[in-house]
């Protein structure tokens, strides 16, 4: 496979994953803003921060208000992480790697683009937001479904999955990074309903509120949430789950190519650290420090994969 093709697949699926994550973040933020209008501005600010686009946002707007945040994260082409930008990026990469995709995956991606381009051609009102976010998640799910249903399990699939899980791990880590203070023991001490809303919101932004309730009926606490998002191997958006997948997919590539590369030596220690940690050891070390280090390692692994498999010349 061409190095460029591997890179195109990796980015295509990073972008698709990002569109879905942005939709979830907006959904969670929107609920808080609806229920607690006084704190809405803070909530929108943290949504923008989690999406990693604070600087670009503040260059354009002075205040964090729903209309601007929604527009910036969904439609703004000057925001390279807006849903429209990343969907266009995903499709351009799909065009680039067209020969590596089944007709089903290509058509699902193309349809996702056509649908969202139409849907996001006008500003989205708050009233239409839930419906719009739903469509975004559905479209991204259709591409994933086509991928799972029709693609060979070979190196093409591995690069697609590496992009998905590196992006997902980054997203979950950034949610924790921005919201770590609501999960700290000092905050839980207060135990107000205010915290409860925040905790729910964190779970909602990774679509895990139901799952958490199944596993912990009647008990919602910050340490439990942090443990769930970082260390639970059953949750498909937890850090440890993402890294188990990353290590698997890198392992298949190693086996397939008969080549062990630097990225393999980097990924395994990251997974081992997650496996060996307990939530207590993480809080002892400092949640914030732990997450910051994770984000850095995850980014470094992304560049190493790019270099080892010659995405660019």
């Amino acid at each position: 496979m061409l190095g460029k093709t591997a890179g195109g697949l990796f980015w295509m699926f990073r972008y698709l994953e990002r569109s879905e994550n942005t939709a979830r973040l907006l959904d969670a933020g929107f609920r808080i803003a609806l229920t607690r209008s006084t704190a809405a501005e803070n909530e929108w600010a943290s949504v923008v921060a989690t999406a990693g686009v604070t600087q670009a946002y503040t260059e354009k707007y002075d205040q964090y208000v729903a209309r601007n945040v929604i527009d910036f994260l969904l439609r703004d082409k000057s925001n390279s992480s807006s849903v429209m930008s990343v969907i266009e990026g995903a499709r351009n990469n799909a065009r680039l790697v067209r020969t590596a995709l089944t007709r089903e995956v290509w058509e699902a991606t193309n349809e996702c683009y056509i649908t969202l381009k139409d849907l996001l051609s006008h500003p989205i009102s708050e009233r239409d937001l839930p419906e719009t976010l739903n469509t975004i998640r559905q479209q991204s799910a259709l591409v994933r479904g086509a991928l799972h249903g029709t693609m060979l399990r070979n190196d093409i699939f591995d690069f697609a999955r590496l992009g998905t899980f590196l992006e997902r791990a980054d997203n979950t880590a950034r949610i924790l990074d921005v919201k770590y203070y609501v999960l700290l023991p000092s905050a839980s001490f207060v135990g107000s309903s205010l915290d409860n809303v925040q905790w729910e919101s964190i779970l909602r932004s990774v679509s895990a509120q139901r799952a958490y309730r199944w596993l912990n009926p009647g008990d919602i606490n910050p340490m439990g949430i942090a443990e769930f998002l970082i260390l639970d191997r059953r949750l498909p958006r937890s850090l440890v789950f993402c890294y188990a997948k990353i290590v698997d997919n890198l392992g298949y590539l190693e086996e397939d190519y008969g080549l062990r590369l630097d990225c393999h030596d980097m990924a395994i220690p990251i997974l081992n650290r997650l496996k060996e940690s307990t939530i207590n050891s993480i809080f002892d070390e400092g949640l914030h420090e732990f997450i910051t280090a994770f984000i850095r390692d995850n980014m470094a692994l992304g560049s190493q994969v790019q270099q080892d498999y010659r995405f660019i010349g």
Binding site: K4, R95, R98, E107
Partner: protein, 475 residues
């Protein structure tokens, strides 16, 4: 316009009769509900958009990707008509390859005084870098798209030879796919020759031209300028269908005297490069130094026999519009036979007598730039305003050598489906020809382009033309 000439319609003959190639189709059509046809027509557009069969239009920000309109009424050619065309095209393509070999070696045709020396010496399409180079198998034009027009029952003319990188073959294939998808029952009633073998044949034909250095199964790659190129869909389509890699210049470099592509495991050599990049951009070391689309050093590798480039660099000298008018002489010179397919009569404006005639008759001629393509920079006299004609006259006088002129042909028509039912529109035809050391192979049919505006003669997709499925009937 053209009131003096009668226009030949390929479906509807004289006195309400249906011409014989269309008789089976007509029978089917009579049983079809017009409303169903219109629904199918709308469905075909959705089908094309979903599959992403689009082309990019330069110079437009929004709607950068457009669909080429597809018309669901096929253009039908009988077996007899086709076999005549086939022989004529093969003769012409063989002569063009012989001409290219000669012009880059001994130039016998010039020594024999059959074409003027200046035509080559002062022509940008002639590449001195190709002098003395013999491409593998002596094939220069691996792929040709010969543009034909028709004016009567037996009158076919070659409009252009397209010996560089003809495009459109993906539309030929997808148009047929679409028709099969929408009207499967129709193909049970009318015996139409297949076109779907084209990608397989292309792969074999290119593989047969692999350089001697290739051992084992030839590695083929398609070189595209990238996803923003107007024909990118076609490049990826062909690579996909052939099972070849789709590469860009930055995927390639010279490694150990071969052109190699950067893969996830290292650099792998390529045997045959089907390039969809113009000569000028092929090698920044040899041609345009600004080019980012090619590969530095590929011409040295090519001259040393390390790779096959399809089509060979320098083939443009054979489809140059100034050379075009000499093709009948070229065919005779190399094959010893009269050309079976006619040229459109052509005035070379470089010649004073011709120029005088052209200036006198601009209102009824089509004037083309010698190096232009895609319908840009041309004057269609009968359709032009007085002001356009006078502006063109100034350009023509300033650089007569830049232009040729041809009579406005009464192009044949084929019906298209309009809101008000069937209506005739002008068409042309581009069959696709594959050349290997073993044979010349022509896919039965080709791409029919159709002017969608009533009376219009401009069929180019960049100027609002559409396409049709083209049927060649079985014997």
């Amino acid at each position: 316009m053209q009131k003096s000439q009668t226009i030949f319609d390929e479906m509807n003959g004289e006195a309400g009769s249906v011409r014989y190639p269309y008789q089976d189709y007509q029978k089917w059509l009579e049983t079809e509900d017009p409303a169903r046809l219109r629904r199918k027509s709308a469905a075909s557009e959705a089908f094309f958009r979903r599959t992403g069969i689009t082309f990019n239009v330069y110079g437009r920000e929004e709607a950068a990707e457009r669909l080429i309109p597809f018309d669901i009424i096929p253009r039908v050619i009988s077996a007899r008509e086709w076999s005549r065309l086939e022989r004529g095209i093969e003769q012409r393509v063989r002569a063009i390859n012989a001409f290219l070999h000669d012009i880059y070696h001994r130039q016998e045709i010039i020594r024999a005084g059959r074409i003027p020396k200046e035509l080559i010496a002062n022509n940008d399409a002639f590449l001195p870098q190709m002098i003395g180079v013999s491409p593998p198998g002596n094939v220069y034009t691996h792929i040709v798209g010969t543009d034909l027009v028709r004016t009567g029952e037996d009158q076919f003319y070659v409009l252009e030879d397209n010996a560089r990188t003809p495009s459109g073959v993906s539309y030929m294939l997808e148009n047929r796919e679409t028709m099969l998808h929408m009207f499967p029952e129709l193909f049970a009633q009318v015996r139409v020759r297949r076109v779907s073998d084209y990608p397989k044949n292309l792969r074999r034909s290119l593989g047969d031209c692999a350089p001697p250095v290739c051992d084992g199964k030839p590695v083929i790659a398609v070189l595209t300028p990238g996803i923003h190129n107007s024909a990118y869909f076609e490049h990826s389509f062909l690579a996909d269908q052939m099972g070849a890699e789709l590469v860009e210049g930055h995927d390639l470099r010279v490694v150990d005297g071969r052109i190699a592509m950067r893969t996830t495991r290292g650099y792998d050599p390529i045997d045959v490069l089907y390039r969809r990049v113009d000569d000028d951009f092929l090698d920044p070391l040899t041609f345009n130094p600004q080019s980012q689309l090619g590969v530095a050093g590929i011409m040295d590798v090519y001259r040393a026999g390390g790779i096959t480039i399809a089509n060979a660099p320098g083939t443009g000298i054979a489809d140059d519009k100034a050379i075009y008018s000499y093709i009948p002489e070229i065919v005779e010179f190399y094959t010893g036979e009269k050309a079976m397919l006619q040229n459109v009569p052509t005035w070379r404006c470089a010649e004073p007598d011709a120029l005088a005639y052209v200036l006198e008759n601009l209102h009824e001629l089509v004037v083309k730039e010698v190096h232009g393509s895609g319908g840009y920079g041309m004057l269609v006299g009968p359709a032009a305003s007085k002001r356009e004609i006078s502006a063109f006259r100034t350009k023509l006088k300033a650089k007569p050598g830049n232009y040729i002129a041809q009579p406005t042909l009464a192009l044949s028509t084929v019906p298209i489906l309009t809101k008000k039912g069937l209506a005739p529109r002008h068409v042309d035809l581009r069959p696709f020809v594959l050349v290997s050391p073993r044979n010349v192979e022509i896919t039965p049919g080709g791409l029919t382009r159709v002017a969608l505006k009533a009376g219009s003669l401009v069929v180019n997709s960049s100027q609002g033309g559409g396409t049709k499925d083209t049927w060649v009937l079985e014997e």
